[in-house]
Symmetry: C2
């Protein structure tokens, strides 16, 4: 499984689809998910994308898209965001899985990362950061987890948590790319290796 | 200058920002532009993105985004699309440059490519296609033009025109990526070479 974890400031309430940037950069979140899970006319197999929403009013919430089960999603930002909206809405009435392949739960970034450490081991989890080791020099397995921050990055506290748990910083270059661009590059580097 | 040319089915009239996919995949177009021109909190320098709109009612129209002049654009699809909408609207009353860095004209794909051949020479123009030569084996200069098709690709007639003009097919792998993902990868490969 290839997994992505995005630390975001996305809001934890329903939001307007006509103004995604003001919903804690829900546009960025949707773009990241789309980039991670889609190929031309198909979804990737065996990809899980987790976004941790840390915005108001009741953070954290973690929404997960699992490509092997997803139905009726399109790559445009508005469509992806609409599914997040549905998940948030239904979580309000206690539903954690109201659409195929989309899950939501009251789970923090650190709780989620801890789960993944138990599942994959720290050495298969990579924190994407401009100052990390060059991704082209890193050995990676098919089963890998990639952690990314939104436009504001991962806060110091959470970053220290990652480093304390021996999660390595990996870089795709000394350029500050959009998070969605980093995801496209990570998928590409994995694909190049046949993983 | 790094230039991109996207052959699209985008509509050539004003469209609804709430339904970009039904405007000739304006979502795809906006995503491609955003991916090509943005970095985190900044625009790339020296990038021109041309999208040829071949959709109804009055194709073709070519819209160009030039990063050195652009103002007030955001990376979300809706924002980029709104600027295309403004360009189309103002072209209706004869304006070819109603916002800084955004140009529109009645120009076809073949006319545009011919201009670029004169400007750069065929050997610095690359047609991104799954079946092309591996981009990692291709010598490229800082001044390069990349041609891409939308989700339906470049029609046979236009493709033959490219091949007749000795424009090489270049590939980023044997995977059918979204056009926006290909653009992220092309930028990354250029960046890696310091171009």
């Amino acid at each position: 499984m290839r997994e992505f974890i995005l630390f975001s400031r996305g809001v934890t309430k329903e939001f307007k689809l006509n103004d995604l940037p003001n919903a804690g950069r829900m546009d960025l979140i949707a773009r990241c998910i789309s980039t991670a899970i889609f190929l031309s006319y198909s979804l990737r197999k065996d990809v899980k994308f987790h976004v941790v929403l840390n915005g108001p009013p009741s953070p954290p919430l973690t929404v997960t898209f699992f490509t092997n089960e997803l139905k009726n999603v399109s790559p445009d930002e508005r469509n992806i965001a609409s599914h997040i909206n549905i998940a948030i809405k239904n979580f309000g009435i206690g539903k954690k899985n109201s659409e195929p392949g989309i899950y939501i739960d009251k789970k923090s970034f650190e709780e989620l990362v801890k789960e993944k450490i138990e599942e994959y081991g720290s050495n298969n989890i990579f924190y994407l950061h401009m100052d990390g080791e060059d991704i082209r020099n890193i050995e990676m397995k098919k089963d890998s987890v990639f952690i990314l921050g939104d436009n504001k990055g991962i806060p110091k506290k959470e970053e220290n948590f990652l480093l304390r748990n021996e999660i390595r910083k990996v870089s795709v270059g000394r350029i500050e790319y959009l998070t969605s661009q980093v995801i496209a590059i990570v998928n590409y580097e994995m694909d190049r290796r046949g993983l």
